[in-house]
């Protein structure tokens, strides 16, 4: 497939010093009970440029979340190489921040204390972190709920708090696993704009798993389209739409064109 050739070309070109992350022939095989094996990821290779927002787009169950977890160091690849910022990823790193599909807030902690949880676990300057946590809550618009318990917040507000928690230790790499997947359409669009704002502010390299084509196009510098399991790269799309992106862009022909290309890579449209 032409797309695959392009990816290989990207990798070959990727010896440029700017590369923040590089993934070479990443493969993941899960052992099933009864001795059977299932290949979740066949071979994924691409490079991640510093400061870029990359979406992993693919059908559900295709292995994109597995790939994200490998990048985050939560699980290990069966073979292949995963390097972030010059180090081989074998376990989670202090420079990573993770946000999950569920907010995963602790119901017994106030919003502020939830946001400060990573600092508490890793150690770090508490007064500084407190100030930063409050700034982040301000940025996502839930500063007045700092003292509230998560149970008192709506789903969208909980996900905002979870985003603050992922950012509180100023990660160099933000990994997000369908963070807006559980939200309704309007909240989702609001959160996408918020993510773009945050990203403009923090400049963190971001990798985001999604199964929404329009979300991937709206947010990303680069879309890596995953094929069905076992996952390979179906297409590598550089989204040339300028930032800052606004809602009007969603209805432009350039936007739709990229959506079409992604759709073709997914096999939805011919």
């Amino acid at each position: 497939m032409a797309a695959e050739a392009r990816t290989r070309e990207q990798v070959a070109r990727g010896s440029a010093p700017e590369a923040f992350g590089s993934f070479a022939q990443v493969r993941k095989v899960f052992a099933l009970p009864g001795g059977r094996e299932v290949v979740a990821i066949d071979s994924i290779s691409f490079e991640l440029e510093r400061g870029k927002l990359v979406s992993l787009l693919g059908p559900s169950g295709c292995g994109k979340t597995t790939f994200l977890r490998i990048v985050g160091g939560l699980i290990r690849a069966t073979s292949g190489q995963v390097r972030i910022n010059g180090i081989e990823v074998e376990q989670p790193h202090d420079d990573f921040g993770m946000a999950f599909q569920q907010p995963n807030l602790m119901p017994w902690r106030t919003v502020l204390k939830n946001v400060l949880f990573p600092i508490e676990i890793r150690g770090g300057s508490a007064p500084d972190a407190r100030t930063r946590a409050k700034e982040l809550l301000e940025l996502v618009g839930i500063a007045e709920f700092a003292g509230a318990y998560p149970g008192q917040l709506s789903g969208g507000m909980q996900q905002r708090a979870a985003l603050c928690r992922a950012l509180v230790h100023e990660p160099k790499l933000l990994l997000m696993d369908e963070p807006f997947g559980a939200l309704d359409e309007l909240t989702r669009m609001e959160m996408q704009d918020l993510l773009l704002q945050i990203r403009a502010r923090t400049n963190a390299t971001t990798m985001l798993v999604t199964h929404s084509i329009s979300e991937a196009v709206y947010l990303s510098d680069v879309i890596v389209v995953f094929s069905k399991r076992p996952a390979t790269i179906a297409d590598y799309i550089e989204v040339t739409l300028p930032y800052p992106r606004t809602a009007a862009l969603r209805y432009s022909s350039a936007f739709t064109e990229i959506e079409h290309r992604a759709g073709r890579a997914l096999g939805i449209i011919r």
Binding site: W108, F117, I121, Y149, Q152
Partner: protein, 253 residues
């Protein structure tokens, strides 16, 4: 405001109706006080003999409370072991369940032989009955830590110790309290069983001796005081729960 009032009003009204019917039945049919004293008789004796009843309540309360606290002190650590070690889970759990199926009333005479007529034997029986719900509920709670929270902790490279104290244990607290609320009422029952089998004081002892002297109203008064003791101890645990797990009231669970 209105809903809160209903919350109190309905049970009180229901209670009043039952007491009214009981009183009428006892008065109109001239039921013997030995068989079934009327609510007024019981209230009168409770008022007349309040210092005796209070004096006998004290040891029963201590027996229940100490047994309960001992059950917490031993039960929670055992639950932690069972929940975190596969070996201990497999080897201890069946034993726990087997011991639970032994009727505690049948064990009481043996415990009495071991610990004598004093507080210790009652404490031991209260402990035995309160122990099981605490272990089971705490272990369940510790094993039911939401996977997402564990994943989060792992993504932050939290140590085992941090995961236990900052994630697993607080997540299990609502379960610990639901076990504790069952356990505290069982502890009172355990203490009374102990007093029935052999004792020199306590409400169970008073009930038994009043009954043997055919003093129906006093026996019933002891029963009422026992229920009040049970309700108060339960209330104390529930209050502690609200103070320790305030988020539960904020819409969680």
């Amino acid at each position: 405001m209105n809903r809160r009032a209903h919350h109190w009003l309905y049970p009180i009204a229901g209670f009043a109706v039952i007491l009214g019917i009981w009183q009428l039945y006892a008065d109109l049919w001239h039921i013997s006080k030995i068989v079934l004293p009327s609510p007024a008789d019981i209230a009168w004796v409770s008022w007349q003999q309040w210092s005796l009843l209070l004096r006998e309540t004290w040891p029963t309360m201590l027996e229940s409370l100490y047994g309960f606290l001992l059950a917490i002190g031993i039960g929670v650590p055992i639950a932690v072991c069972v929940a975190n070690s596969r070996v201990l889970n497999l080897s201890l759990y069946p034993i726990l369940i087997a011991t639970q199926s032994i009727p505690k009333v049948a064990v009481a005479p043996i415990v009495l032989v071991w610990f004598g007529l004093g507080l210790e034997s009652k404490l031991a029986i209260a402990f035995l009955v309160a122990f099981f719900p605490i272990v089971v509920d705490t272990a369940t709670g510790l094993q039911a830590t939401p996977g997402g929270l564990l994943e989060l902790a792992r993504s932050l490279r939290a140590s085992r110790w941090q995961i236990f104290w900052k994630v697993q244990f607080p997540a299990a607290l609502p379960f610990v309290f639901s076990g504790a609320k069952v356990a505290i009422t069982l502890a009172v029952i355990g203490a009374v069983i102990g007093e029935f089998v052999g004792s020199v004081n306590g409400l169970g002892n008073l009930l038994l001796s009043a009954n043997s002297q055919l003093d129906g109203p006093l026996a019933w008064a002891a029963l009422v005081w026992l229920s009040i003791l049970g309700v108060l101890l339960f209330g104390a645990v529930a209050l502690l729960e609200r103070l320790t797990v305030p988020y539960a009231a904020a819409g969680y669970h």
